[in-house]
Amino acid sequence: MIRFLEVVRRDLRLALRQGSDSIMVVTFFVLTVVLFPFGIGPESGILERVAAGVLWVTALLASLLSLDRLFQADYEDGSLELLVLTPTPLEIVVIAKVVAHWLTTGLPLLVAAPILAVLLHMNADGFTTLLLTMLVGTPILSLIGGIGAALVLGARRGGVLLSLLILPLYVPVLIFGVGAIDTAVQARDATPHLLILSGLLAVALPLSPWATAAALRQALE
C-alpha cells in the first residue's frame, strides 16, 4: 500500500512539474467542444440534442491524447524495468499509474464538462447524470487505455496505433454514457444505464491491470 501511494505521488508530482499533459487534455476538450456551435450553428435546439454526444466523444478523444505518454517515458528512461522489479505485484503499480493518470486527466475533464454543457444549452435535468457518467466513465477510459498504452510500447507511431486499438473498446462507454444523459434529459430514469456503466467499471477494474501488466512484461523481454 505504501508503494502504491508512493507511485501515485511520484506520478502526480511529475505531472505537476511538467504540467503540459493535463493542461493539453483540458484545452483540447474545451476547444473542440467550442468548435461545435461554430460548425453546426448556434440554434439551441440542435445543440441541445447533440450536447451529450459531443461532450462524450470529445472526452474520449481528449483522454486518448494523453495515453501514449502513460508508460512511454518510463519505458525510455529505464524506470519501467525498475518498476517491474519492485517487490510488489506489477498489477498494483499499474493501478497506481492509472489512478495518477485519471487524477491528472479524467478529473479535469469531469470539472470542465458541466461548464461546456451550459455552452451547448444542455437541459439542466441532465447535469447530475452527466457528472455521474463522467465520474464512472472516465476511470474506465484510463483503465482500458492503459492496456493499449502498454501494448504499443516500443512501436513507432504508437499514438496512431493506440487509437486504432483502443477506440473500439471505448464504444460501450460512449453508448451507455450518452444513453444515460439522454434518458435523464427526457425526464426518465437513467439508473439502468448508470448501472451498466458501473458494471463496465467493475469488469475493467480487475481485468485491465492484469492485461496491462502482462503487456508491460512482454514489452521488456
Binding site: R13, L14, D77, E81, L82, L85, P87, L220
Partner: protein, 223 residues
C-alpha cells in the same frame, strides 16, 4: 551489520537463452556464494546483459533455472525483486525530479518500511559524492552524475544481491574507486555482486565467467 538471515547461494543451472531467433548462450552454469563476486566477460553480443536480465527476472530463460538456495527465483518474483538490485543501461532518472527525490522514490519503493529512509538516502548520496547536488533536477546532471545517482540506490535500500550491467560506464576514476570500495563492503557483509564490464574493475577474489565459451557455434546447422 550483515544480512539477516544470511543469504543462501545464488545459482544458475543449464541456462540457455534465445533472443530474436538466435541462441545467445546455452548450457551455462553459474554460482555465487555469499560474499562472492562474479564478473561476466565477453565481447559485445555475447549475452552479458541477457544473463543479468535473466538473473534479475526481467527475462525468462529459454531453458534452465535460476535458483536462490534451493528455490527457483521465478517462483516468487516479488521476493526475488526484494533481495535484488538491478542496475541496467538506463539510469531511470526523471528530469524534473531532484537527485534526492529520484533516489528517495526508488529507495522507498524497494523498502517502504525502512525506518531511517531519509538518513539512508543522505548516506548514499554522501558516499557517491552527490550531497551538493541533492536539490538539482535530474535534467541538469551529467551522464556520470546520473549513473552515480542510480548506483546510490544500492546503498539507500539494502539488498543482498547486486546485478550490475556495466556500472562503470561514464564514471570517472575516482567514482570507480568509490564503487569498488562500496562493493568490497557489501561483500564483507555477506552480499553478492554480479557485474559485467569491459573495463578493469578491482574485485579481489572475484570469479570470472567468459560468456563467449557458452555461445553455441552451429545454431543454424542444427535447425
Amino acid at each position: 551489520m550483515s544480512f539477516d538471515p544470511a543469504p543462501p547461494p545464488f545459482n544458475g543451472r543449464a541456462l540457455g537463452c534465445i533472443r530474436g531467433g538466435r541462441a545467445v548462450f546455452a548450457g551455462l552454469d553459474f554460482s555465487v556464494a555469499p560474499g562472492d563476486a562474479l564478473v561476466l566477460l565477453g565481447p559485445n553480443g555475447s549475452g552479458k546483459s541477457s544473463l543479468l536480465r535473466v538473473m534479475a527476472g526481467l527475462l525468462r530463460p529459454t531453458v534452465g533455472q535460476v535458483l536462490w538456495g534451493d528455490i527457483p527465483a521465478g517462483e516468487d518474483a516479488e521476493a526475488h525483486a526484494a533481495r535484488t538490485h538491478y542496475v541496467g543501461h538506463h539510469d531511470a532518472i526523471k528530469p524534473v525530479l531532484s537527485v534526492a527525490e529520484n533516489l528517495r522514490f526508488w529507495a522507498r519503493l524497494h523498502e517502504p518500511h525502512l525506518p531511517t529512509a531519509s538518513k539512508a538516502v543522505d548516506g548514499a548520496l554522501e558516499r557517491f559524492g552527490l550531497s551538493h547536488l541533492r536539490d538539482i533536477p535530474g535534467k541538469m546532471l551529467s551522464a556520470g552524475q546520473k549513473r552515480r545517482t542510480n548506483l546510490a540506490r544500492l546503498l539507500a535500500a539494502p539488498s543482498p544481491l547486486w546485478l550490475l550491467d556495466e556500472p562503470t560506464t561514464a564514471l570517472d576514476k575516482a567514482s570507480i574507486k568509490v564503487l569498488e570500495a562500496v562493493m568490497a563492503e557489501h561483500r564483507a557483509k555477506g552480499g553478492m555482486v554480479v557485474l559485467s564490464t569491459h573495463q578493469d574493475v578491482d574485485l579481489p577474489g572475484a570469479r570470472e565467467l567468459h560468456l563467449d565459451e557458452f555461445t553455441p557455434e552451429s545454431w543454424e546447422d542444427e535447425e
